[in-house]
Symmetry: C2
Subunit: 317 residues, 2 copies
C-alpha cells in the first residue's frame, strides 16, 4: 500500500503528515520553522518533520511514494524551486527544494504554492467537494486565493489566485506588495497589525499588544485578534470590520466576474473567526453582487490547520 | 448547405447577417431599433431585419438552420427569454423572444447575452482565437465582460462576466446599477456622459455637447468622444483618462485572479479608440499586475461592429 507524505511549510511552523491512499493520516509531526539561517536549514527541518511523521506511520521516508511540500513564496512547480519566500529566513533567491529534500529523503518531492495546495485539499477532501466551482479565500497574514473551475484548480499561466491583489480602492492604502489599494492592504493580518501599531502610537487605546506580550507572541496572531475582540477592544473591532468590508468588495467582484457556486474561507483568521466570520463576509459581499437574489454560500474550510499538509500530500497522489 | 442567421440587437440599431458553415457572410441588413412601443415591436423589426438579410442571401427565413439573437438585458438562454432590457422600449418584464421570433420566421431561434455572444465570435473567428484563455472587455455604454477559460466561454451559474461591476473604489461613485464604486461608474460611456453634463452645468467648458448636437445625436456617442479628444477638449480628455485608469484597475484585478493569456477589448469606445486605446489600457493595467514581468497582450477585437451578429449566428451553429 502506497503511503505519501505532505508538508505544510509555514512562517512559524512546519506541519508534516503521512497519509494512505484514502488520505487518512497514518502519522504526523510538527516542528518550528527556523528563524535564522537559510533555505538549507529550512530543508533540514522539513526532512526531520517528515521523517518523524514517517516513523509514527512505521515506514522509512524512502518507502513513501513521494512527498509534497506546500510553500510560501514564488513556487515553480515544474522546476521544484521556491524563490522570494519573505517569511522564511534568508530566502531571497531561488532554491531547489524538490531536489535537495528528495536527496535527503530518497524519494520524489514536489512543491506547490501553500494556498493553492490547501484549497486543493478542500476541493478533494473538504468543504469544496460539493461544488463544481468555488473561490478559495485564505485570510491570514496575507490574503491568498484560488479559483476552482469545473472541479479543477485554475492556474492560468501559473499564478492565478492572487485575490489579495484585487484593487478595492484605486489609489488607496499601501500594500506589502508595493502597490496601492489592494484587498490585502486592508484585510491582510500583516496590514491590520501595522495599522493597529500606528493607531496605538497615535494614542488609540487597545489591548491588542498587551495580549500579544502576555501570550509571548512577537506579532498579532489570529488568536490575539480573537481575544481582543472578545474583550470588546474598539480598535480591534474597527480594524476587523474594515477588513471584512474590503473582503466583501474583493470577493463580490470576483463573483461578479465568475458567478461561482460557493466561497470557501480558510487561513489563520478565516478559520479562527469560523462560521460567524463567514456569515459576516457573506453580509459584506451581498451589496456588491450584481446578481443578488441567489448569493452563493460562504463556508469555512473543513480541514482547518491540517489542510495544508493534506493538500501537499495530494501533490504526489 | 446550412445557412444560419445572427442578429445583434442594440439600443440604437439592429444588425442581421446570414452566414454559411464557415461563418462567411452571405447577406446582411441593418435597421433602427424602435424607440417606442414594446417587445412585440422590437421582435417585428428583428424579423424584418433577418428576412432582409435572408433575401440578400437568396434564401427564405424558414430555410435557415436557425437564428441566434444577441440581446441586452437579462437573457435566459434556456428559456429563450429576455427581461429588464433598459435600453429597449417598454421592456421591463420577461419576454419570450425565441418563441415569438421563431413563430414569425418558421425556424428555431436562440438568444444570448450581447456581450458574451460578441466575445464568443472573437474567440472562434477573431482576436481571441490565438489564446487558450482571455478576458473580453466590452467598453460601451456600460462595461461588459466575458471570460474564456480553456477555449470555452465560462458562464458560471449563468451570469459570469460582469467585469463592469468590479468594485474599483469602495464607497465610490454611484453606478447605474444602483451600487457604488463599480468600474462601470467610472468607465461606462453612460456614466462618463452624466459626469460631463454635471461638469458643464458647473461651468466647465467642453465641445462635447456641441459636437453631439452638430452630429444630430441625443447622447455622447463614441464618435462624439473621439471627435472631442481630437479637438483637445480638456474635459473629454480628463474623463477618458479617468475611465482608462479605472479599466486598468478592474482588468488588473481580474488578471491577478485568473492569470489569463490575453485581454481583448471591444465595444463602441473600445473599437473607436482602437490600438491606441488598447495600449493606454495596457499601461494603466500594468501597475496593478501582481506578476508584472510578463503582462498579457491587450488587443482590439477584430470583428468590430459585425462581431455581435456573427457571434449570434454561432448560437445556432
Amino acid at each position: 500500500m502506497a503511503l505519501r507524505g505532505g508538508i505544510d511549510l509555514g512562517g512559524t511552523k512546519i506541519e508534516a503528515v503521512v497519509v494512505d491512499e484514502d488520505s487518512a493520516v497514518r502519522g504526523s509531526a510538527r516542528r518550528e520553522t527556523p528563524r535564522t539561517g537559510g533555505p538549507q536549514d529550512v530543508v533540514r527541518e522539513l526532512a526531520a518533520a517528515i521523517s518523524e511523521a514517517a516513523e509514527a506511520a512505521e515506514v522509512f521516508p524512502e518507502e513513501l511514494a513521494g512527498v509534497g511540500v506546500g510553500s510560501p513564496g514564488e513556487v515553480d512547480r515544474r522546476a521544484g524551486t521556491v524563490a522570494r519566500a519573505g517569511n522564511l529566513p534568508g530566502w531571497r533567491g531561488s532554491f531547489p527544494v524538490a531536489e535537495e529534500l528528495g536527496q535527503k529523503l530518497g524519494t520524489q518531492v514536489r512543491v506547490g504554492n501553500d494556498v493553492r495546495v490547501a484549497v486543493e485539499a478542500e476541493r478533494v477532501l473538504g468543504a469544496g467537494r460539493r461544488y463544481r466551482s468555488f473561490l478559495g479565500v485564505w485570510w491570514g497574514t496575507g490574503i491568498g486565493g484560488a479559483v476552482v473551475i469545473d472541479r479543477k484548480l485554475w492556474l492560468g499561466l501559473g499564478s492565478a489566485g492572487e485575490l489579495g491583489h484585487t484593487v478595492v480602492r484605486l489609489g488607496g492604502a499601501p500594500c506589502p506588495c508595493g502597490r496601492f489599494g489592494c484587498l490585502e492592504a486592508y484585510a491582510g493580518r500583516g496590514s491590520m497589525e501595522r495599522r493597529a501599531r500606528r493607531a496605538q502610537e497615535k494614542g488609540a487605546k487597545t489591548v491588542l499588544f498587551d495580549l500579544m506580550q502576555k501570550n509571548k507572541r512577537d506579532r498579532l496572531t489570529s488568536g490575539v485578534w480573537a481575544a481582543a475582540i472578545e474583550r470588546d477592544d474598539e480598535l480591534a473591532i474597527r480594524l476587523v470590520e474594515r477588513a471584512i468590508s474590503a473582503l466583501g468588495a474583493g470577493i463580490g467582484s470576483a463573483l461578479n466576474l465568475l458567478d461561482l457556486d460557493a466561497v470557501v474561507v480558510g487561513g489563520g483568521l478565516g478559520t479562527r473567526f469560523g462560521d460567524d466570520g463567514a456569515r459576516r463576509i457573506a453580509d459584506a459581499m451581498l451589496p456588491h453582487l450584481f446578481v443578488d437574489d441567489r448569493p452563493p454560500p460562504v463556508v469555512v474550510s473543513e480541514l482547518g490547520d491540517s489542510g495544508g499538509a493534506l493538500g501537499a500530500a495530494l501533490l504526489v497522489a
